[in-house]
Subunit: 279 residues, 4 copies
């Protein structure tokens, strides 16, 4: 039997007709750039092959993983940020975290995403390779990008904003991508409002903090987090790998992302995909 | 703008026409049943709301995650198991693990899976609610199941074998699902050969160990792991939640699974999905 | 030069004249009995010899330690327990823990202990090998023990109460020492008051919970913790190894214990010593 | 009863006559300077007061500790370093670490130390506040220091070498103490031989790496580790706090150090003490 035979399922037919998968997740490696605000990524082998060999010659190696949930490519659950003591929907933050986990608004409540995704390649619209350090991407920049690409953004979409900063992820100097001194480009309050008005489901960026960080200020205020997570219940995805989709000008795609069901957590590492049908 | 407008992408059209998503991953909670061979699942909030409030009234909570990679629903990379000192393809296990990570055959080399998936509901074919403890599912059982369901299994497919044991996952007695004393149902060497002959891409089960565990013997020998991982390079997925797809008789679907790109690890927690087009 | 020459320091002279050291700490091993209320003990080698060899042939192995601070032999800081929202001295528990660490009353505030220590071998006084499971050691038992041993207890002393339960620490069935179903012997509210009246500095036991646990009740109420930690600021030491000192009838000694200065923590693993001059 | 009454134990009498304790351990805090070669120090509260309140109003908070064993003030076990595949005594390093722990030469084999300790205040002898960055302390420097202090060093002693570098531990710039670019002062191969010839039991320093690090070279070769740990079985203690003992000119004392009995580990965090009788 040919397993690529036409089935009665439209989705499966589309999959079996052939798809191209773009990996939007960064590899998780010890020593990779990450925010100093979160527990660092660690991975080690407690058991190696040969430590314990079974009677039949078999042996198994295994891992211990230690990490914050906001390191590497990750999604922010709505429990992550509060404003004046309130989470999204007016939930009392202090009460919600009793027990050391968020039964409400934790990352286990984030449904898997299989949705229309749109890449907004901002520097391409600005005629640059990358937005400068600390540059605030404006609503006008977003409009210009949509216009150039002919990819309108609508309700329920997942919008990924490329600043070009992601090219520094693999820089030898691991502090460059974090950008504490230089600042990092991204949207600010106005860009967040632009996204909220379009009622997107989630928004992502190729930077650690998603939003614009002015030089030397770090994470002192994060207005886009407040507007998107707290005010509008829009999920944020950070540290995305967007260079490859941008290079191939894949601006519209099926966006796939499945957060781990970490019960009560404020975020989850993810490996999102952009998937398109092959010609 | 209607974002569900017909696009030029067949896959995105199928997605936007409506899909039903079945979650095949177990929630990750402190205290859930897991194999004692792996570091236990832990999750805690180092920072809670109110610990550090920004000038504008904003506050962020975050997590620390500590876990083995073979706990909860997870995938085994080919680096996980060796036989007589060799990994799949004859790779020398001792050499491959120098440095404390598997550059070859680590879980970062497992490509995201968007493939035809087949659920084999074995107890349904046997006329039972669940296979008995320690029962070895035979090739004849698998053939009978395929026949009853009319879902042939072919090259590149992902095959999920339901034993019914997954109904114990939420049992109050957390040791029942692990089944050390009782044994656990699953395929043995013969069932593994059946899968390998069909050249499947990956195989999963609703149990911790994937394969049949005789009563009281634990993981003393694991022939299916050897045949599938080492001999044939077929990935294994364990601790799947298969009750819901079985209940709805969804035997064929688009299987989605995206392992975390944990560089050099022997496995990864995953949250696989079975997706079907809505009528 | 003889380094054991008489110095001008009385303490050093006593040390150099010869001392016998009793180790009162349990080895910390993966899988040892511990309370299920605390993160389990884990230890692994991220780097092994040969993973990275220096130019000169040198190589270093190292460890990753993951554990609760109330596992193995450990001391409870005053921050560990609150009653009606108050820590010792009326400190507001909710306020004290903001920031995720106890600047006040954390284990870093526990000074190293070099003090008179007294072992109270209760079963020896009762004419038994061990107190029965769930037995509450009474003030009369403590008085009888002091009397038999001729070791009065006074202000500033460290008092170690042997119940004999510690002989189960190495039992093959790792659940016996924890004693959830059987109960565990120890003092109750009355015994705690007896200790508090004598103004001891710290009190210890050869059990996980220090105090009497009735069968099947687990840690549902812990009156001795309240009386000692909260009401009187007396430190508790748990999971002590007291069999050897008891065997040698060493009832009075120099007690040495140096908690790790874990800033803000509620406890610390320790390896206390009983030291006596050699004849 | 006066508990300070003269007992029949010489050591306890000396203790009860009054002692002054110098704390030679650094507080363990998140973000403190540490070697990038080891898993970073992390500490968090999984349970806070109020998360779970017992019927009687009681509540307990607890911790999760995640750390390398060579961070903060710590001792190196003999298992830590190998040379040409051999540990101290010719033990085969590869064989010794099978199972992921060192049954031989692990830190659980390091006996508690209650010994004569000698502080060698090298910069005081050199007429400086601190040795310069990258300065190699020579045998002549050590001799001059012993001579100035009139504190000969002999078999079984613990020798603590002050370079003055420890004053940078609390520097705002957390990279200064690590000293990767600047280099760090300490002994080299010759100083290690000087110590080995005197058959000391252990040697310590106020720096992370114990020995001299030339500017920019990091830990590329560590000859003193080889000579002391591998060739002579002499333990090393790093990141000591020596400013206070130096200030008070306490050059000879009872040295107390009790490593945690971490079964099979290559090192342990410690909090060593220098103790002297009060006048």
């Amino acid at each position: 039997m040919a397993t690529t035979a036409r089935t009665t399922d439209r989705l499966l037919d589309a999959v079996q007709a052939g798809v191209t998968i773009y990996d939007l997740g960064r590899p998780l490696t010890v020593g990779m750039p990450q925010s100093p605000n979160h527990p660092p990524f660690g991975l080690t082998l407690p058991r190696r092959h040969g430590d314990m060999v079974r009677a039949d010659g078999g042996s198994a190696a295994n891992d211990l993983l230690v990490m914050g949930t906001h390191v590497g490519t990750h999604v922010d659950a709505l429990a992550h940020v509060s404003h004046n003591g309130r989470l999204h929907g007016g939930v009392d933050a202090a009460a919600a975290q009793v027990g050391g986990r968020f039964e409400e608004l934790g990352v286990h409540t984030v449904a898997p995403m299989i949705r229309r995704g749109v890449l907004l390649d901002v520097p391409a619209a600005l005629g640059e390779e990358s937005c400068p350090p600390g540059y605030e991407i404006t609503p006008a920049d977003l409009d210009a990008t949509v216009c150039r690409q002919q990819t309108p953004v609508g309700p329920g979409n997942v919008v990924l904003i490329r600043s070009g900063w992601g090219r520094l992820f693999d820089d030898e100097d691991r502090t460059r991508y974090v950008g504490k001194d230089s600042g990092v480009p991204g949207i600010g309050a106005d860009g967040a409002t632009w996204l909220a008005e379009r009622r997107v489901h989630a928004a992502g960026a190729d930077t650690i903090a998603f939003e614009c960080l002015p030089p030397g200020k770090g994470h002192s205020v994060l207005p886009a987090h407040r507007i998107l997570l707290v005010d509008h219940g829009i999920y944020l995805i950070e540290t995305l790998a967007l260079e490859e989709v941008a290079r191939d000008r894949v601006y519209e795609f099926t966006f796939l992302m499945v957060p781990l069901p970490l019960f009560g957590a404020t975020g989850s590492p993810v490996r999102p995909l952009a998937v398109v049908s092959r010609d």
